[in-house]
């Protein structure tokens, strides 16, 4: 009988308690990020679609070698011994597992993962699978507005790079002083 009454009381008590908790949460503000209108801020080093700074790249093939899934297809032609010209740099997003290894091995820090907000981030959504083998040199996934932005960013990058080259010429010794800092900077301004 005691258990019986306690069960009745307990079930009522804990139900009311639970309802209090849900009531409390009803009054809290929602945590939802309304995606198309609001964006979740992406952190530094967010792993999105790759971008390549073709000007710096030295064709060392390290990113293709380290890739666990062999999704990077790279071909470059050697013109006049030192000068190389690009033929193919494709990343197959059918396979890519976004592990960040290719970015890490890059000795020149020229391959990055896209962290821009906006549509370009998820531009690869498609009903045609073959477009997922993305030509990183061209970056076909961009919308028109983004292409304009990319051009802009590239121009800025070129400007910055010129300035940097100047600065680097001034003090060569401090070139790779702080690797992580440097990487962060690069990730910032080569946002394409």
């Amino acid at each position: 009988m005691f258990t019986y009454m306690r069960n009745v009381v307990d079930s009522l008590r804990t139900t009311v308690k639970g309802m209090q908790v849900t009531w409390k949460n009803l009054r809290r503000p929602e945590t939802t990020v309304e995606y198309p209108e609001q964006l979740v801020p992406l952190p530094e080093g967010y792993r999105g679609i790759h971008t390549l700074d073709t000007d710096i790249c030295i064709y060392c093939f390290q990113c293709a070698k380290i890739c666990p899934v062999d999704c990077i297809e790279m071909r470059a032609e050697r013109v006049e011994k030192k000068f190389l010209s690009w033929e193919v740099f494709n990343i197959d997003y059918n396979k890519c597992l976004f592990c960040d290894l290719c970015i890490e091995v890059c000795p020149k820090d020229c391959i990055h993962m896209d962290k821009r907000d906006g549509s370009a981030k998820f531009a690869l959504i498609t009903d045609d699978r073959s477009t997922l083998n993305l030509d990183i040199l061209e970056y076909k996934g961009l919308s028109e507005a983004d292409k304009v932005a990319v051009v802009k960013v590239r121009e800025e990058n070129a400007k910055k790079a010129a300035e940097k080259a100047k600065a680097a010429a001034e003090k060569k010794a401090a070139a790779d002083k702080d690797e992580s800092e440097d990487k962060k900077d690069k990730a910032d301004d080569s946002g394409k």
Partner: protein, 386 residues
Amino acid sequence: MAATVEARPPDKYVDVRTQELQINMGPQHPATHGVLRVAIWADGEIVTRAEPDIGYLHRCAEKIGESVTHIQYVPYTDRYDYLAAMNNNLGYCLAVEKLAELEIPERAEYVRVIVSELNRIASHLMAIGTYGLDLGAFTPFFYAFREREEILRILEWICGARLTYNFIRIGGVMRDCPEGWLEDITRFLDYFEPRLEEMNELLTHNHIFVNRTANIGVVSLEQAVKYGLTGPNLRGSGMRWDLRRDDPYSIYDRFEFDIPIGTGIKGTVGDCWDRYWVRILEMGESVRIIRQALDQIPDGEIMAKGVRHLAFKCKAGESYQAVENPRGELGYYLISEGGQISYRSRIRAPSFCHLSILEEILPGSMFGDAVAIIGSIDIVLGEVDR
């Protein structure tokens, strides 16, 4: 405080024999946590026999382990126990480091502990959230996910990915803590602890929940040891066994923490409620560990000297390295013949062992209990099938 539930002898309900009903639970079933298939022979609502069938997510883990280099295999380990990817990374990296005899910098060790424990909290949150879902309580799932999103935000901040981190690398960690990251963890922990209390009020001590889980799926200590249960499931049965304390790896011997065990507060030792309660308590212990680690973390390097991604080689040898995954003992057994690629890489997945006990504990329970039991042993199919 709350009522204890009377023990229910299973035989009481199987007096009237009727025709057995074979029923196929899964692979697509909301309560099987993925693609587990359990064939159930039921007598009305009573399960008389159960046979788990796995392999619907077999992803050739061990074949890949002997096909790609050690460095390249780390991102794959994320995908086996995808709820606790950091712990998986840690286990594999420790195993390789044991073979390669690497010295890990202090700071890296601390960062490893912090991210692993954060991931343990995330994993347990997921476990209790989906457990609520199994028992028909939808809202705790959303609250658990809300808290989990905060952890994911913290982890994404440091490594750029939400679920498959590939953060703990052989020789250290991938990246140093960003500015403000450590302070943010403290902020999160302060926010998290009252929320955990709320979860207890909403779900843990709810009379219906207690009735659904107490005295259900009792795993005696003897059975637990026999079937190779580890982690919260073993502790839920009353064994104070935690690899972080009993076979310390990394720097866990520097922290002070308790090992919660099931004591049968609401029913019998080793029932579903105990296993669930151990997970809740473990989150508190993880918070303690993280706080200590945050206090002690030194400055310094985050990567061991001489680990070059493309040319990393192990020495020949065999090593078995076990870590305490949120689900139990996660072991990597590596055979290396020297060189970049393991000769054999075997994964000891805790969920795999836990599943085998279903055949023993499901019979005699009711259909709703079967769901509760499967939920309470907290399996991840990616790890079961590998």
